[in-house]
Subunit: 360 residues, 2 copies
């Protein structure tokens, strides 16, 4: 199995959304071609050299896909384990099975993190209504009940307030295997986007400060309003996590910044084993974009410089906000990105813009 | 005929080389799709939503191409006039027929420039060996004999030195309709890359300083080593030329900087009615790339900011220099671009790199 790719080679990406699209464009910049595999056509299909529309359990299609590429990656963490294993028997899958398994299950993820000395919210597994009652007894209210698997953008979770009936709460998450997370009184949400190369090298962008609206990322600012010590701790933590997962590619670690008096402390919320919305600013505001960084890593190439060009503001365009493109195009110094989605459905990510302001 | 496009619309581009490729990627960033039309498959095919392989005089294919797009543009100035006219009857062709006709013929180009008060090298039409003798008598030696049409990267031109036999020189350009250009004792070669919108607005990048090797661009530095007055004059000149051509899109004006004692003076060498190699640095070093700027202009959208992120160095990778990709990937802070060409033929542009150094 080839470990390193060469220009002209094909990379494989599972998923046809905007992340796959931006990975494919970054690959093209470096003279690579991209094969997108997805059960549904999506915006990535418009910019790739090849695409396959097939189910994630279609072994014939998966085998042909694997044959056509030098490495397999993905734009979303919920790749079925069986799909990943089938592909990994044929081509390197980067990031690997351990990163996928860990990030797909909130319980496994938090257990792993605590196991390597990384702080998380307190948590307890919830497999039944009795578990839930015991967990709420232990962790108190408010706390958050989340399904262990397949949750994103606020899906599969419910806040357990003082008045919340626990039976209804467990129904609300479909009585699925879940975890209860104790409430973290955070001052801000931040993320570290780093990359780990095949040779174990690690490079991270400056810490991003994120604001969510309705559980969806709305706004990112870089640098984050964190102390130098907290920024260093956050970045070291991401590097430590990546090393422990024997990770190859871009990794995103979402974190809470907790302020205890003068002290700032980092609590990890979750890991995304992929490029991330809070790193979209790197397309316009950094020497190397997160997408190129990911491509470099999965190809076994040296990582690029994560240096910023200035102070960063990034804003997502959700649903009907994408219709505002004409006004946004005329804003001085604003870099607009639209994802080529045909329909501006509510809560759908239609695009984003970045503004880079020279520093100093 | 629609004047303005909307996200989701298709733009048409004639030519499948690296410039078409980078235009297609810039269009995709803005949610547009690209249809590439070319007699030969090329690197642009890997990143476009649709492509057509057909001759430039295949009217059936051209009509279908026009039907599929909202606007037609091109990556090279030698689009046959008949092709442009056929397409222009169906869809807006931007830049338009006047820009093409002017830039395709060195005699027409210099006559146009002098006519609007822009200095060029002295020149004379050469249609016969007798014309050539008379022209050399008038303009002296050294001077340069160039075919009126289809010359680029030093093709179709010969230097008339003291010892050059004129009969052989005229043979060397195939006895084609040509012009003789008087020698300009320039200090440096510079270019202005500007864009003119459908509304007549004009925006230019800072003046680029260019070094050629073997008649092919090797190296661009921004800002150019020119006086503030000369830079302003050069930029004004490009805006004036674009306005006189009723131009829509990115225009490149290649110029000589002549030093007369303390004075710096601009002499225009030629116009390229398109994005240009000396503007490739804008992909990494400017708020808006020349490719996005071109797409914005041809779509009837507002122009973006041409602000630089720092001091720029860009170097082309010609022929076997492209094989050096692995070493270049590991240079700190260097942005590498490879064009996805399979074979590193001599004099072939395989890629480029840009380095952006923070200023001040």
């Amino acid at each position: 199995m080839t470990q390193k790719l060469r220009p002209g080679d094909m990379i494989g990406v599972l998923g046809s959304g905007q992340l796959g699209r931006m990975i494919a464009m970054a690959a093209a910049r470096l003279g690579l071609r991209t094969h997108i595999y997805c059960p549904d056509p999506g915006p990535a299909f418009d910019v790739c050299a090849q695409f396959t529309v097939a189910a994630y359990d279609d072994e014939e299609a998966l085998a042909a896909f694997a044959d056509s590429v030098g490495v397999v990656s993905y734009e979303f963490e919920n790749v079925p384990a069986k799909t990943a294993a089938f592909l990994a028997a044929r081509r390197p899958v980067r990031p690997g099975a351990r990163a996928l398994a860990t990030s797909q299950d909130r319980f496994a993820e938090k257990t792993f993190l605590n196991g390597i000395g990384v702080a998380t919210a307190p948590f307890a597994a919830v497999d039944s209504i009795d578990d839930l009652r015991a967990a709420v007894e232990q962790l108190g209210r408010p706390s958050i009940l989340k399904t262990r698997r397949m949750g994103y953008d606020g899906k599969g979770q419910i806040l357990i307030r003082e008045t919340q009936d626990l039976g209804e709460a467990f129904q609300a998450v479909g009585c699925a295997p879940s975890i209860l997370e104790g409430f973290v009184p955070f001052a801000r949400e931040v993320s570290v986007i780093g990359a780990r190369g095949l040779d174990g090298s690690f490079a991270a962008y400056d810490v991003c400060e994120n604001e969510h609206e309705d559980h969806i990322l709305a706004h990112t600012m870089v640098p984050a309003r964190v102390s130098e010590a907290a920024a260093l701790a956050a970045t070291d933590m991401a590097g430590h996590i990546a090393a422990e997962l024997d990770y190859v590619g871009v990794i995103t670690v979402e974190m809470f910044l907790v302020e205890d008096g003068m002290e700032q402390r980092i609590v990890v919320n979750e890991i995304a084993p992929r490029v991330h919305n809070s790193g979209h600013w790197t397309l316009d505001g950094a020497v190397t974009s997160q997408f190129e960084q990911h491509v470099r890593a999965i190809c076994g190439w040296p990582l690029g410089s994560p240096r910023r060009h200035g102070r960063i503001e990034m804003r997502n365009l959700i649903g009907a906000q994408g219709n505002d493109w004409e006004r946004l195009l005329s804003q001085p110094g604003l870099c607009l990105h639209l994802y080529g989605k045909h329909e501006a459905r509510p809560r759908r990510k239609m695009g984003h813009w970045t503004k880079v302001t020279p520093e100093g």
